[in-house]
């Protein structure tokens, strides 16, 4: 494992396992290769069970054969991502103290999406016959299902902070470890395609007609995608004791609330700025040491403008290298920032920042150093991962290389 400084004070949190399922790859290697090459994973919907979706474009996890009906697809995506992350961390069936191992997943809709056909069917039946329907299933099945599969009995939590859910889950899992309430947490996010989420964005005129173009002058909205990502987080001491390979340190995290508007970001990006600054403070890292920011970058006009403004306020006019993977992935909802966290870890490992796919002409109002055209090879020692959601939820995470973790704090 990578050399790290001895621990003092609260538990340090390290990343020892990664798992992703995305529209551009269903393995960590495949995903990262596609991300670095700027492969775009969105396009016309092809799934045969998507006839009721009110959008023609989406990002699908191709080749992942899990049914939408019955809420099984989100469960299957979450399980698969967690299993991959656990395997990467050398955890197959947990043999340690089960009460010291937990799960925290973020999701926007949970298993609700998969029940749409049944719910709609029941509503139609109710129209005709006055019959009631069984109602949607709650989201936390996701967390329980993953925990049971791995034999974890420790803290379990499903968090819902809209599009910030993945980062919120990472933050809560990391908090749990740092406070000594667990040694190991599997954390991440998951969401599948659904008629409901597409309808919501369509009603708000937020869907792009062709491509999701983060920070582009001609950006016109987002494309809804599905996916899942999981990271194995451990206390550094625990990882060291079991000889685990450390990919990176999750050095800092924070969340905040805009408390401004239900769907629009604060015009000055106050929640975004506060989350970034708090997360950096939590990591003990000054803004001038950040090399890379994985932006929320949804391709909606107001979000990108406000995020760019917040980035300039935090980092000054010479910002770190910024990229938005949503140009390639589409918006994977509650999974987005978990997937982007995996990308941050890989950027640290390989010293490369993926390009922002579909960005042709940078909007002058988004005057930050956005990586475009092709990937940028550069030393990445500190990466910040941004996530901002409806309802004013903002959450940021800070990742560092394991070899610099000791001095980073």
């Amino acid at each position: 494992m990578a050399a790290m400084a001895a621990q003092t004070g609260p538990a340090r949190v390290v990343v020892t396992g990664l798992g992703v399922l995305t529209p551009i790859g269903t393995t960590v290697a495949g995903f990262w290769d596609a991300a670095v090459r700027g492969v775009v994973g969105t396009g016309p919907l092809t799934r045969p069970d998507a006839a009721d979706f009110p959008a023609a474009l989406a990002g699908e996890v191709a080749g992942f054969d899990a049914p939408r009906a019955g809420g099984e697809r989100s469960l299957a995506l979450a399980r698969a991502a967690a299993a991959a992350a656990a395997a990467d961390a050398g955890i197959h069936r947990w043999t340690g103290d089960p009460y010291r191992a937990g799960v925290c997943l973020g999701t926007l809709l949970g298993s609700r999406a998969g029940l749409e056909p049944a719910v709609t069917g029941f509503h139609r039946a109710a129209d005709a016959h006055g019959a009631p329907y069984p109602g949607p299933r709650a989201a936390p099945d996701l967390t329980d299902a993953v925990a049971r599969e791995l034999g974890f009995l420790g803290p379990g939590l499903a968090v819902a902070t809209a599009c910030a859910s993945g980062n919120s889950a990472l933050a809560h899992a990391a908090d749990t470890i740092r406070a000594g309430r667990a040694d190991v947490m599997i954390a991440g996010g998951v969401d599948e395609l659904s008629s409901g989420i597409m309808m919501m964005f369509s009603s708000l005129r937020s869907l792009a007609p062709d491509f999701l173009r983060p920070f582009d002058r001609d950006r016109a909205g987002l494309i809804v995608s599905e996916g899942a990502a999981a990271l194995v987080l451990e206390s550094y001491e625990h990882a060291r004791r079991r000889g685990a390979h450390v990919h990176a340190e999750l050095a800092g995290w924070a969340s905040a609330s805009d408390a401004h508007h239900m769907t629009a970001p604060h015009p000055q990006g106050s929640g975004a700025r506060r989350s970034m600054l708090r997360a950096l403070k939590s990591a003990g890292i000054s803004p001038d040491r950040v090399d890379h920011v994985s932006a929320h970058g949804t391709g909606t006009p107001s979000n990108d403008r406000v995020e760019a403004q917040a980035l300039r306020e935090v980092f000054g006019p010479r910002t770190p290298a910024v990229t938005s993977l949503k140009g390639a992935l589409g918006h994977t909802q509650g999974a987005a920032s978990a997937i982007e966290a995996v990308a941050c870890v890989l950027a640290l490992r390989d010293g490369v920042v993926p390009p922002t796919a579909n960005l042709v002409e940078l909007d002058p109002e988004c005057d930050v150093d956005v990586v475009r055209g092709r990937a940028r090879e550069m030393p990445v020692r500190v990466a910040v991962n941004n996530a901002f959601g409806f309802g004013g939820n903002t959450a940021c995470t800070v990742f560092t290389r394991p070899s610099t973790a000791g001095s980073a704090r």
């Binding site: 009110p54 103290d97 089960p98 009460y99 010291r100 809709l109 949970g110 609700r112 719910v119 709609t120 509503h123 139609r124 109710a126 009631p132 329907y133 069984p134 109602g135 949607p136 709650a138 936390p140 967390t143 329980d144 049971r148 009995l153 803290p155 379990g156 939590l157 499903a158 968090v159 819902a160 902070t161 809209a162 919120s168 809560h172 908090d175 406070a179 309430r181 409901g196 989420i197 309808m199 919501m200 369509s202 009603s203 708000l204 969340s255 905040a256 609330s257 805009d258 408390a259 401004h260 508007h261 239900m262 106050s270 929640g271 506060r274 959601g389 409806f390 309802g391 004013g392 939820n393």
Partner: protein
Amino acid sequence: MTVRVVVAESVVHGAGLVLPPEGTGPAESWFDHRARLGRGYKYLPPACQYLLAAARTALEDCGPEADPLAAAPELRGAVVGTNSAVAALHAAIDETVRREGASALSPMSVPYFAVNLVAGRLSTEHVLKGFNLTVTSPRVAGVEALHLAALELAAGRAAVTLAGAAEAPDPRAADAEPEAGAALFVLRPGGGPVPAGGRVLRTVLRFVPPPALAAAEGRRLARDSVRRALDALHSGGPAPDEVELLADPSPVGDAVADALRSWCADRAPVSTRRSGARAGALTPVVRLAARPLPAGAGRRLVVTASRAGNVALATAHTPEHTD
């Protein structure tokens, strides 16, 4: 095997309950948003309306002299637990799309399709900029919200947090419990002064894997887990005077009931309330907020279990000496 238990503690400075009158049917109208909240709240989902009304009551409950939101906005947080706050909205949206098309949807209502917006609106209403979190674990989400709020307060990320539960089940859902309303606390860090009329909340969360209960060893582990949680919850304090179990008819509910009754055998009688499988997250918080608490420094213990394996244990008590 070591079962380590984390007890989270907070101090209640105010509580707000918004509940339907006794005997109200699940589809019956009982809440007048215009009277309780004023203008501008018509398009909010009912659970959000209940939550906002509960927040006003809770803030008023802090007393005329108190200024519960005096802390900087960045040091005010919100944590809300719910299982079905927007279930009825989902159904209504579906019906609108089916009958009139997506263009007929109100942009005022549609964003609440995402359940976190219920708590998001609470933050906007009271300028709670510190953090905002929604949790949804079956049945225990309300107590989970209190637990997380206490941990956030203990970590210094807020000076005051509004935490609780809100529910509004879809009246057309066949097995939805008639649970509707909101219960919200104004919480400050544990160990701090308890105001007159305030109380101390202590919470523990556990997970009992349902498949493990098929074997004797799994049942033993579950019993030990619940007993250790109860021991930790009452560490250094007296036994509870009132014990309430809220559980569904499931192996998890049965296992928790057995463990609780055995632990309480020589302490206090257990009052058990069985619910349907899809009861919401509200009742446990309501029971922690309900007045009066046992006299003196007596404690009310509320234990909640769901068939999915989630277990929440919480006590509420008023110290003999308050501010």
